[in-house]
């Protein structure tokens, strides 16, 4: 939905600058994995606030349910059991859109205004402009967007842009019983994370750290990880996510260059005609043929 109460910073398939006069602060959601108990209150709050209901699935023998993000499940808890120094660790990560500063989905999207990045950092899909091509799926380094089989529109976490617009924290943050989901300005969230990381280090997690990957310009959903050196432990969180070079090449300089080349070939043809004249059958040959006919 087009939220005019939020300033727009970037808009998909738009080549002119967005309005920039107003300077607003960047927000962020901080997910402290070390404080998560895997209760899924956030998952339920997300369904509740956003009025999305997934199908009742079946048991896959693991806690993940549904097992993957869908057009109706914009956040999913992923449970990984790993052994660290002879101890079992249950690493539970709330998966969903990271709200990248440099969003691959937005870069790939061909439909003007189907993907919006607000000045506060939230990346939002506006389904009314979405054409259902799925380019955003190719563009995203985190495998987040899902295309609905019902309406062919792309869906993902909105970071509750409608709540944030009226100064409310996202529904998931509101519902979390342990405070594992914090919400505020990006700066405040980084400060808060620092304290959490210092605490974790004291408790023996020497590699604890903040996940705010620079490859996508930082994110507006950040994680505090006990093993920040190995994000892959957390159900395959990417180590150094970045927009794929193939996507950058596809959506980068090649497009304007190719468009210009097409224009040049078309114009070149016209000018060739105007400057060289048409390639007509010569009078000489026409006469030859006429002569043959007369015989």
């Amino acid at each position: 939905m087009a939220l005019q109460s939020l300033d727009i910073k970037q808009r998909s398939a738009t080549t002119t600058p967005a309005p920039q006069a107003r300077q607003t602060i960047e927000i962020a959601k901080l997910i402290d994995v070390s404080a998560c108990i895997g209760c899924k209150a956030c998952q339920v709050a997300c369904m509740e606030w956003n009025d999305v209901r997934d199908e009742v699935g079946s048991c896959h023998g693991i806690y993940d349910n549904p097992v993957d993000l869908t057009e109706n499940s914009w956040t999913v808890m992923r449970y990984a059991e790993v052994e660290e120094q002879g101890k079992l660790e249950w690493l539970i990560r709330k998966d969903g859109c990271m709200h990248c500063s440099d969003p691959g989905c937005l870069k790939a999207c061909p439909a003007p205004g189907a993907i919006i990045q607000y000045a506060n950092g939230i990346v939002d899909f506006h389904q009314e402009n979405c054409i259902g091509c799925g380019y955003c799926v190719s563009g995203c380094p985190f495998n987040v967007p899902r295309i609905s089989k019902k309406d062919s529109k792309a869906y993902k976490c909105t970071l509750c842009s409608d709540r944030v617009a009226v100064n409310q924290a996202p529904a998931c943050a509101k519902a979390c019983p342990t405070g594992a989901i914090q919400f505020g300005s990006k700066e405040d969230m980084k400060d808060y994370a620092e304290k959490r990381i210092a605490d974790l280090k004291e408790r023996g997690y020497q590699k604890a750290g903040l996940y705010d990957p620079a490859g996508v310009g930082g994110t507006h959903v950040m994680y505090v990880l006990h093993h920040a050196d190995r994000p892959g432990l957390y159900s395959g969180l990417p180590q150094d996510p970045a927009i794929s070079p193939t996507v950058s090449l596809w959506k980068g300089v090649t497009k304007p260059v190719a468009a210009a080349a097409l224009g040049l070939v078309a114009l070149g043809s016209l000018f060739h005609y105007v400057m060289k004249g048409p390639n007509e059958v010569s009078k000489e040959i026409e006469k030859e043929v006429e002569k043959e006919d007369a015989q």
Binding site: A111, N129, V247, P256, A258, L262, S269
Partner: protein
Amino acid sequence: MIRDPKDLQRYTASERANHWLVGICFILLALSGLAFFHPAFYPLVQFFGGGPWARILHPFIGVLMVLAFVIMFFRFAGLNRMTAADRAWLSRIGEMVDGNDHGMPEQGKYNGGQKLMFWLMTLSMIVLVISGVLMWRSQFSFAVDVVRLASLAHALAAVVMIVLIIVHAYAAIWTKGTVRAMWYGTVTRAWAKQHHRAWYRQMTGK
């Protein structure tokens, strides 16, 4: 309708219909494809009833084009084998473009440029079908790296194809008396003698 009984038959009615079907599909594909290609072209979706319709229709028109193209390919592939005379013609293409065809080697039904065009279009078409199917999200779901590569390949092959078709159509417009071959199927003997002399000899026995 017969304008001059001595005109030379260049294309049969079914060859012409086949070619027009490919041509119409191409125009629709280029218009809808370019709409996704760059924001400057996005308004082209209006020809198809908006963005979602352009997205839905494009791949189906693509499949139709491939079918029509394959039939056309088998009709004309034999006539498009490169020979030494074609290579000689191609090596002097600069003179032709300059508008001076006096020194050009004698050509059969198709000249070296047309043959090269035929094979380049075939190649582009192959890349377009394969990559197009790979990126067809509403029907298939391939590994994301494959889809990314396919998207890049599809966009590049589409640009090559559009350039080829512009040159192809322009060559027909530039060479007066050619376009009628696609309307009535015939060309004048003088046209054939000037542009495709070996074919002219073969057809007239002169």
